[in-house]
Amino acid sequence: MAAQLAFFILLTAGSVVFAWQVQRLRRGLAMGRPSERNDQPLRRWKTMARVALGQGKMGSRPVAALLHVVVYVGFVLINIEVLEILVDGAIGSHRFFAPYLGGAYVGIIGFFELLGVAVIIACLAFLFRRHVMRIPRFRHADMKGWPSKDADIILYIEIMLMSALLLMNTAEAAMDAEAPVVVGHWLAPLLSGMDENSLHWIERIAWWFHFAGILAFLNYLPRSKHFHIILAFPNTWYSKLSARGRIPAMPSVTGEIKSMMDPSYVPDETAVPDRFGAKDVSDLSFANLLNAFTCTECGRCTSACPASITGKSLSPRQIMMATRDRVEESLDKGESAKDNHLLDNFISRESLWACTSCNACVEVCPLNIDPLDIILQMRQYLTMEESAAPAPLNSMMSNIENNGAPWAYPQADRAAWINE
């Protein structure tokens, strides 16, 4: 009875805190402009199914894709066992489904155990890639401090959760040669020589560690890059579906220009925004902010970015991390951080001007995150609100205004090449 009470207290506490975390996240995402990406629902579901569920963009890096799919499948399937953990915890039973499923139960548990072993191996391989192979995208300047630690914590937690599951089954197998487990029996000799009482305690502690660990991990997720396991789905649903090379037209500007070209045209004054482009996260769209919270900081974007490759300060991953950090700051500090902005406090002007708009970051992102969209909106702010484009770009633009070309040649000479 005491165990059941403890179970319910833990479960309730874990759920309440998680619900509060989700609310906080919703407030963060609501800081952005409402998304216009609600069209073409069928295409959006398909994109979600292909990119998030089917991991359709992971394959370009096969080793990472294989390791990732092991952890992904492991996570999804092993969590089916949580159902039994919940039932056992609630009614005080032990392996509630075993009598109903019989031999199939042993098969299922054995499969979960093997997956658990595979997940541990994959997580160790991920740690190996980060700390021994030192793959450059994990060592880039923007990964210093918390981002690297976050990645390690996630891997450690996953290894511990899986180990607890295996230890639980091993202890049970050591006590009972008929226990409905598979890998547990293989590992049982490791615990030989321990008395029944100790094995019982190990089994119980491992069960509670696994259960409490799941709740703790659930609440770690929203503070971590690892929340992609959930946000990947809405994020891919809100993917940009229009032509990749299209920057959407600002309606207020269109109205202004139409009224210049046709004096009888009356522009819609309500369409004029408070600010052109983006200086802070509140100027960005909901989809931009969702992108930022979905980013799992894998750095494929940065490893494909021509500016990052050649040592410029721009890193597309840093654009996403900075956007999220600024939202988090606004959520946590509120008024006291109101004088900060995404621009300058989190993203440097130098980084913004280093972008070639080549779309490599957009192409490689396994979750259809779009750092370029944020960069371009921030350039719009710099140019249209502050006239702060680099001087050569200002010359280029005044040439276009004066003579319709980025260089200072008269428009009348545009066909002069014919006779040269």
Binding site: M250, V253, K312, N359, R379, G404, W407, W417
Partner: protein, 262 residues
Amino acid sequence: MTDTLHVPILADMLAEGKKPDVLFWVGCAGSFDDRAKKVTKAFVKLLNEAGISFAILGSEEGCTGDPARRSGNEFLFQMQAMQNIEVLNGYDVQRIVTTCPHCFNTLKNEYPELGGKYEVFHHSQFLRELLKAGKLTIQGGAFKGKRIVFHDPCYLGRINQTYEAPRDLLKALDAELHEMGRCKKNGLCCGAGGAQMFKEPEKGDKDINVERVEEALATKPDIIATGCPFCKTMISDGVSHSGKDVPVLDIAEAIVQAGDLS
């Protein structure tokens, strides 16, 4: 073939009561930049050779606004776009071909929502159609057995998913087509996109075009081919920087040179 280029101006042609099949959008680089002008002329030679009825806007053409928009100047972009659309719609233009992937992208993807809806081709797509239709013959000639590596312009390749048209043309030259590791959707930018063409790069370890040219030269090419005036400039400068002497040619130039059409 004669040396004189036949380049009708759209306004003149319409005044004579004739209507071209396609408008050739020359672009600013194609009109004013020395290296790009060679591409413009090469493409016109091919159009003349194939007997295509085309025209250019001449002094009525203006920058599409691409570099302004990507510098964040939405106002200037839309000014240019609306003026161009007024001209194009005024002449009832339906089909446009251009040698510049930046013009191509803007005309194709960004003008429609401002009222400019056209069928837009990059010249590699247009020439491939001519080749397929038998209106254009490509001769191996000078390039037979030569090693050619193709650099994908971002605004043609990754951004508009056009990878095979330029390659099909190069293959028709009987040349050996080689690929860099980073090609097609993973192609590395030359460093000029997003209005970088018009400014100095930010400080870093090296220039992007140098990085790209090192990769291209590692394939030991006799020729580096591309399909964008900005790429051509950046890659040519990168080759000069490397001290090597490898010609950098647009696809249209390669076809003209191979067939000795000049």
